[in-house]
């Protein structure tokens, strides 16, 4: 029930029936199933698409996808839509034994569902061909597409490349004796970058505490259960009314322990996971920031190159060298490239500005819901515990008299 709340549908308006006039695209990721054996084993998911868009074949389509397919989609979108904050993916699991635990699988399924739905509800991303392939293609086509991409578009940590490039250019600058700024540094952009980096730190801390809180619920549940058992045994020492009272205390402790375990799970799925998602979203923004820096640098370098080319050109014009024609052609090409690069950079800037606003709005409603679920869960737990203990009081009164 809760996951449906979180992911929602990718429609512009809630559909009444598949054949309503308003265009909609609704996706859900369900039914995780373990496939294969041993080291090769993996989890597959059913991806169900309901739509009335013309580009899609038919009203409903079900395909089977695995985690690496989602990764493929993410990487393709990241390459094609620079400037847009691509919705983040849940992490790859490194711990073997955890990979197939029910909790992990459920968390991942929920996160993947949110991922696809965010894409389907983003005004630009939803139009992507890659999304269509992902939602519609048969498994073999999907596998082929995935294998192709791992070579060419293999996603490397964007930050790492950026650092590497920075080092490269700095070295060459020093060698050539040039000091040029390779970073964009308008005050607003600086502010935004600082905000993002600091935000990540804060959120990571909050997520850490949230996870610990989940653990505390489990620990309290366990120790209460053990305490209840010990108290029951203590009650058997005196076989009078007191013994019964102890026994009832023990039974109530067990009931409350179960409540605590339930709340721990609810907290994990509806509070800790959204916080983790928030962190991932911020990391996705950082990746876009790196892309923007790359584009900016390219723009700068190209501008430099063009300038030099101009100088050469004028030199050739004056000396009426035969290299002139060649140089002119190159110059025109460079200028065209320069314009294209600038255009791309400007697009990124424009998109980012829009995206930041969208991001803030989305996060306010995501966190608002998470806070609501958190508070609701805590209230339910505390009231439940109070009720359970309260029901014991009249019995205690009766026994003690």
């Amino acid at each position: 029930m809760n996951t449906m709340q979180r992911s929602g549908s990718g429609s512009l308006q809630s559909p009444r029936s598949p054949s309503s006039q308003a265009p909609f695209l609704s996706v859900s990721v369900t039914d995780p199933a373990k496939m294969g054996n041993g080291v090769q084993a993996y989890i597959s998911y059913k991806v169900i698409t309901k739509t009335n868009l013309a580009e899609y074949q038919g009203n409903e389509k079900i395909v089977i996808r695995r985690y690496s397919d989602f990764v493929w989609l993410h990487d393709r979108l990241f390459e094609k839509y620079k400037g847009i904050f691509i919705p983040p993916l849940p992490e790859k699991s490194t711990v073997e034994k955890f990979r197939f635990s029910a909790e992990f699988i459920e968390m991942r399924r929920q996160a993947l569902d949110v991922f696809v739905n965010r894409i389907a509800s983003h005004h630009e991303l939803r139009q992507s061909d890659d999304l269509r392939i992902f939602l519609q293609a048969d498994e073999q086509t999907m596998d082929r597409a995935r294998f192709q991409e791992t070579g060419i578009f293999k996603k490397k940590p964007a930050d790492l490349i950026q650092i590497f490039k920075d080092v490269q250019s700095k070295v060459s600058d020093v060698v050539l004796g040039k000091e040029k700024p390779v970073e964009e540094s308008t005050p607003e952009y600086e502010k935004m970058k600082n905000y993002i980096f600091e935000l990540e730190e804060h959120l990571a801390e909050a997520q850490k505490h949230a996870y610990r809180l989940v653990k505390r619920h489990r620990e309290l549940g366990e120790s209460l259960s053990e305490f209840g058992k010990a108290v029951k045994l203590l009650g058997t020492c005196d076989d009078d009314a007191l013994g019964k009272a102890f026994s009832e205390l023990g039974a109530k402790s067990e009931i409350i322990s179960i409540k605590l375990q339930k709340e721990a799970h609810h907290l994990l799925m509806n509070f800790e996971e959204p916080l983790k998602d928030y962190v991932r979203a911020v990391q996705s923004i950082k990746a876009t920031i790196a892309e923007r820096a790359t584009a900016f640098k390219k723009q700068c370098e190209l501008a430099e190159t063009i300038k030099f080319k101009e100088i050469d050109l004028n030199k050739y014009k004056l000396t009426r060298s035969e290299k002139l024609a060649e140089a002119e052609r190159e110059y025109e090409m460079l200028k065209a490239e320069g314009e294209e690069t600038s255009r791309r950079f400007d697009t990124i800037v424009r998109l980012m500005n829009e995206e930041i606003v969208r991001f803030q709005e989305q996060k306010t409603s995501d966190m608002g819901l998470a806070f609501h679920e958190f508070a609701k869960g805590q209230a339910r737990l505390s009231n439940g515990i109070a009720d359970a203990w309260r029901s014991l009081l009249p019995k205690l009164e009766a026994h003690s008299s």
Partner: protein, 518 residues
């Protein structure tokens, strides 16, 4: 509210470490508990006013046990007397460093701490109502030793540990404060025991200033030296073995009774608390049944006490983590508000602040709940520690029985030797002067031993009776204490979890617009 970054660092999580090893030693637990109930936690409210809250049950209702703040030593609270109108209120305060007059051999022990013991009473023996003395820990040890000698068979509360290691490891003030509390609790327990509260030993301790009169030395070494002369004669069964009957009342100790000491030592080693295969014939079936029950009770108490510690730790952790989460969100709120470029950020910051405030409140409530829980579940530890007193009382009984049986066997061997000697001398005409003399001596020994045996039997019966009445008393007291513990524990849980629920319900209400359950 906003400037809480510093308090993050002050949140002392070292208290956790004190709980990690589930302590077997009673004193370890007590040291941890004193740190837990401190109110200088950054998240605690400035004024903790428990007394007016009708929802808070102030736990234990047994007459003398109470929690005193250091500030209260000036005005000791008058605890309402239980059934009769007698009271004996004791306060321990004002620790003071003193220098030892004579330099001691062991380095680093020229100073010691004394405590002010203030007593208020209306017991007739005291001949007054208010008394003050200064005592050091050594005096407490002496008092407890005198009590165990004088009250054999009774369940005497165990005294605080000497804990030499802790005194080195802990900060001086912490240790002194911990000890002060422990001493006070100990004296309260003594004052709560129906017989010990009327004892001379306690009265002298509370009234008479100056050095506490030392007990008759149990120093075996010096006794052996002065008994060594007589030892060969004893071993050869010859005369000069004058046993003063009163000495029989105590288990064999010292040079005079080295032989008996060895005999009894061998036997007592075989006696184990749990082992029912002792060669000593305990004929009292009721006693054996009670012993079995108390042994079982001890095991269950120990287990329950351990689990109670775990529970308290888990509750503490829960409160701490919620508090930390709250503080983190407060920081985030401040951050978002400072850097806001769009309104949605401010909206989010407002939501976050509500959640953060609620979390901090909940954390405080958990802490309070926990300190109350500690007080209630403490009863488990109290009764567990009483088991030690019960052990001693039962071993008093065993050693008394051992004394009786040793004397009986000695008597029978003396008698058979006398018989043999008589038949031997009767055969010789006129009698053998030396043999006759020996016979006379033997007959003397027999008489003395007979008297000693009677004394020992009386003593044994007395101890048996003490045991019995004490078992009844402790069962009654335990019943009352446990009922109070259960009621107090449950009532507190209800009260606090209700309040925590209210705090969160409000936030859930405030954020309900985000819910899609429409």
């Amino acid at each position: 509210m906003m400037g809480k970054e510093d308090s993050m660092e002050n949140l002392s999580l070292e208290d956790d470490e004190k709980f990690t090893s589930i302590s077997k030693s009673y004193s370890n637990y007590r040291s941890a508990m004193t740190c837990l109930s401190d109110s200088h936690h950054p998240l605690s409210p400035s004024i903790v006013d428990d007394s007016n809250d009708p929802l808070l049950v102030s736990s234990i209702q047994s007459s003398a046990i109470d929690d005193h703040d250091v500030e209260q030593f000036q005005n000791p609270t008058i605890i309402s007397p239980p059934l009769n109108l007698e009271y004996l209120n004791i306060t321990v305060s004002d620790p003071h460093k003193e220098i030892q007059a004579s330099p001691s051999i062991v380095p680093g022990t020229n100073t010691y701490v004394t405590y002010l013991i203030t007593t208020q009473t209306n017991l007739p023996d005291y001949g007054g109502t208010d008394f003050t003395v200064r005592r050091r820990f050594k005096d407490i040890v002496t008092l407890s030793e005198r009590l165990s000698e004088g009250y054999r068979g009774y369940f005497i509360p165990p005294r605080p540990d000497k804990s030499i290691v802790e005194s080195q490891v802990m900060q001086k003030q912490e240790f002194v404060e911990q000890r002060r509390l422990a001493l006070e609790k100990y004296l309260h327990k003594l004052a709560a025991h129906p017989l010990i509260k009327k004892s001379d030993e306690l009265r002298v301790f509370l009234q008479v200033n100056g050095k506490l009169p030392l007990p008759t030395t149990i120093d075996v070494a010096s006794r052996v030296l002065d008994g060594a002369v007589k030892l060969p004669k004893q071993l050869f069964g010859e005369s000069g073995n004058l046993i003063v009957p009163q000495d029989v009342v105590h288990p064999a100790k010292g040079g005079r009774d080295l032989l008996r000491l060895f005999k009894e030592l061998k036997q007592s080693v075989a006696n184990d608390w749990g082992a029912s295969n002792s060669s000593i014939d305990e004929e009292d079936k009721d006693f054996l049944k009670n012993k079995e029950r108390l042994h079982n009770l001890e095991q269950q108490l120990s287990n329950a006490s351990k689990q109670a510690e775990s529970l308290v730790k888990a509750q503490q952790d829960m409160g701490d983590t919620i508090g930390e989460l709250g503080l983190t969100f407060i920081k985030l709120t401040k951050f978002e508000n400072e850097r806001a470029t769009v309104n949605t950020q401010r909206e989010r910051a407002a939501d976050m602040k509500n959640v953060a405030t609620a979390a901090v409140k909940a954390s405080r409530l958990y802490r309070e709940l926990n300190s109350q829980t500690v007080k209630h579940l403490d009863i488990l530890h109290e009764h567990l520690s009483l088991m030690l007193g019960i052990h001693h009382a039962f071993s008093d009984r065993s050693s008394a029985l051992l004394t009786v049986q040793t004397l009986i066997s000695e008597l029978s061997s003396l008698n058979s030797r006398a018989e043999k000697l008589e038949t031997a001398t009767s055969k010789i005409f006129g009698g053998d002067k030396s043999r006759v003399r020996k016979l006379e001596e033997l007959k003397d020994s027999i008489r003395v031993t007979e008297d000693a045996k009677s004394c020992a039997i009386r003593e044994y019966e007395r101890i048996k009776e003490n045991n019995r009445s004490e078992i009844d008393r402790i069962n009654r007291e335990r019943h009352v204490d446990f009922v109070n513990m259960l009621k107090g524990f449950v009532t507190n849980q209800v009260a606090y979890t209700e309040r925590i629920g209210q705090v969160w319900s409000k936030v859930a209400e405030e954020t309900s617009r985000y819910s899609r359950e429409s």
